[in-house]
């Protein structure tokens, strides 16, 4: 039986390999100073310590406690029916590894998840043991993100939450039908109930903190979740509406989207040679940003008639082209909310425009100097009543062509596309992606 004479290198390989499909790796959401006698602190903006060959940020030591699992979710590498090598960390091994990586500044902290071993409760108890050792014996004061196991007792969720900075429960599949089909051991209720509990606990805790200054903090960096995109026929509209609900109702800090990477041959799943839908995932992230920082609502971006994003045009451009009656906007007069709706203008650009307006009237040259990217914005704005270069695009078709991400659609974007590097996400959005603003 494997797992007996297995060295730490093998364990680390197996347990990071099986954790890598979790996209979240942010270390953001909380500022915490260092303490005498402890090691570590936390930075609200989050810190990326490296970037993997797939371009994703590496911030936390992302591993599973064990990849042994009693469940058989069809989309998952760790499903019980998969013939894979299995391993488990002992709490001490995990703590040693975390502390030693942390001291060398390889990581910002630990992201601990787990397959379900024996039962949800047993699994959670193992995780609590490991985190208690790390926090109390090793005096680790850095960032911990932990996954709650659906189906565990609420008392265990509460204890785990006091040890971690962020807790997440992955919804994975955006509808009950999809869950029934692909994750027969999970139900919508078994996921949403603990989410509700965490959200309730966070609010209860914030009033406790007002009353008792020394009350321990319950997941101070909030909770997040992940949705898989492209394993099931769920539409973008359905996914985005779900996200909006999670932000509003459960006050989630982040919803992550994960383009489905085929890891299993199954009649209910896309075939194994399907490319992960990276461009679709990218559009969902852009839309998610619009919900959180740009004052958009899901039903402004998609509706019953248009259930999926246009892959050629980013969601904000698409919205703008459907509302040409609102444009062009005058840079020197438009309110902040309207500046944010201009394609190509992000939060930082809009703030800079507000600042610069205090001392002078802005022209196109001035916009360039302050670092506003005009590639897209030029068709939607005026400066001192003038259009840039004096030409006006009158046809919708031309405009649409100018706005489209041609380069992404040519030569197989699945390989070419990067989540962060291309223009539709402006430079400032890149830094937001990585750091998540306050």
């Amino acid at each position: 039986m494997e797992g007996i004479d297995i060295d730490i290198y093998d364990k680390l390989m197996i347990l990071s390999d099986s954790a890598k499909y979790d996209v979240a790796c942010t270390s953001s959401g909380i500022d915490r100073r260092g303490k005498q006698g402890s090691i570590g602190n936390a930075a609200k903006a989050g810190i990326c310590h490296s970037f993997a060959a797939d371009g994703r940020c590496i911030s936390l030591l992302k591993v599973l406690m064990t990849n042994v699992c009693i469940y058989d979710c069809k989309y998952c590498v760790n499903r019980t029916s998969n013939d894979a090598r299995r391993a488990s960390f002992t709490p001490a091994e995990l703590a040693e590894l975390t502390i030693n990586f942390y001291r060398r500044n390889y990581i910002e902290g630990l992201f601990l998840s787990s397959g379900v071993i024996k039962s949800p409760n047993y699994t959670m108890e193992q995780m609590i043991k490991a985190l208690t050792l790390l926090r109390e014996t090793y005096r680790f004061n850095g960032y911990i993100h932990v996954k709650a196991i659906p189906g565990a007792d609420s008392e265990l969720v509460s204890r785990l939450g006091l040890l971690a900075d962020r807790m997440s429960i992955n919804i994975e599949l955006p509808s009950q039908e999809s869950l029934n089909l692909l994750a027969p051991n999970k139900t919508k209720d078994s996921i949403l109930r603990p989410m509700g509990l965490i959200s309730h606990k966070i609010q209860e805790n914030s009033t406790d903190l007002v009353k008792f200054r020394h009350a321990s903090k319950f997941v101070p960096a909030g909770q997040s979740t992940q949705l898989i995109v492209g394993a099931t026929p769920d539409t973008d509209h359905k996914i985005l509406t779900l996200s909006e609900g999670l932000y509003k109702k459960y006050r989630l800090k982040r919803v992550f989207y994960s383009a489905y990477v085929p890891v299993a041959e199954h009649t209910l799943l896309p075939s194994v040679d399907t490319k992960p839908p990276l461009l679709r995932e990218h559009r969902l992230y852009q839309a998610d940003w619009l919900l959180r920082f740009y004052g958009f609502e899901a039903n402004e971006l998609l509706d019953e008639q248009n259930q999926n994003f246009d892959l050629q045009v980013d969601p904000k451009c698409n919205w703008a082209m459907n509302h040409l009656e609102l444009f062009p906007v005058e840079i020197n007069k438009a309110p902040y909310e309207m500046l944010l709706r201009v394609p190509g203008i992000g939060v930082i650009s809009a703030m800079r425009i507000l600042t610069a307006r205090k001392s002078s009237v802005i022209d196109f040259d001035g916009l360039k100097k302050m670092g506003v990217v005009l590639k897209r914005a030029q068709y939607f704005i005026t400066c001192k009543g003038k259009i840039m270069n004096g030409f006006k695009i009158s046809s919708d078709i031309t405009l649409r062509a100018l706005m489209s991400d041609q380069h992404k659609l040519l030569n197989g974007f699945a390989e070419q596309l990067s989540l962060f590097s291309d223009p539709p996400m402006s430079r400032e959005e890149v830094s937001q992606c990585l750091t998540e603003p306050r």
């Binding site: 602190n41 310590h49 797939d54 371009g55 060398r104």
Partner: protein, 277 residues
Amino acid sequence: MFDRTEIVYEYDGSFEGLMCCVFESFSLKEVPSVIRTPSDQQSFFDTAKWIETDILKFNRVYKSIAAKISIQAQELVQLGFWTNAPQKEMLIYHFLRLGYKHGSKVMSMLTDDTVSTLQKAVRHLTSESHKFKGFVRFSVYDKVMVAVIEPKNFVLPLISYHFCDRFRDDSFMIYDKTHSMALVYHGQKAELIRVDQLTLPEVDESEIEYRHLWKQFYNTIAIEARNNPKCRMTLMPKRYWGQMTEFAKEEELQTVIKNQQNPSKQMILNHEPQRLL
């Protein structure tokens, strides 16, 4: 000044010294066309005027920035001095002239060439310093941790608090090879010192093991189906890779940090205490 010779100021390269150049210029009502340090390239014909660093003059100028312009401007000027902007001295000097003329409004003059250039340089500095909070790699030598970085801007003052707070009970050094400076934290005290040469001892078994483990984790965590080297390069340009454990070759993992190896097995520090943080 009626003769056509250029006015060139030479100062000791410290922030205090630069502020004394500003003092000189305003008290003599003359406008220098170059402000430089003795190590900067000199043109054949100019004769520089040496500006002595005088802490009283420094204080007067430094305080006047907060009083006559704003605290934010004072901070911007200090940060500007740590950037690698070409001729940063003249940039800061011109910014201050604008500031004394327009007052606190200068901070919102984003469409002005001087203001936008200085702000852009400072953004480059702060974003690089944020990157180094993640990209610094320590090697553990028994009780001491040592890291080497090669930043473009002088980031040590900006990352100092972060690391000292994080590793409160440890002793460590971050050596900035580009600027020949080191942040040394020991016994709860931080110091920036000049270090011209650094020789490090051999690393032990457990250090080598953790380097290997980290490299393995790094290689495992990437999803092959999403391979995207271009994106990685944008977010973490190659110039950072040289001092990062995950990119070290096998033989480098076995030895001391790349490029710093030296046959003698002691640490040599040329102490010359500079300004405290």
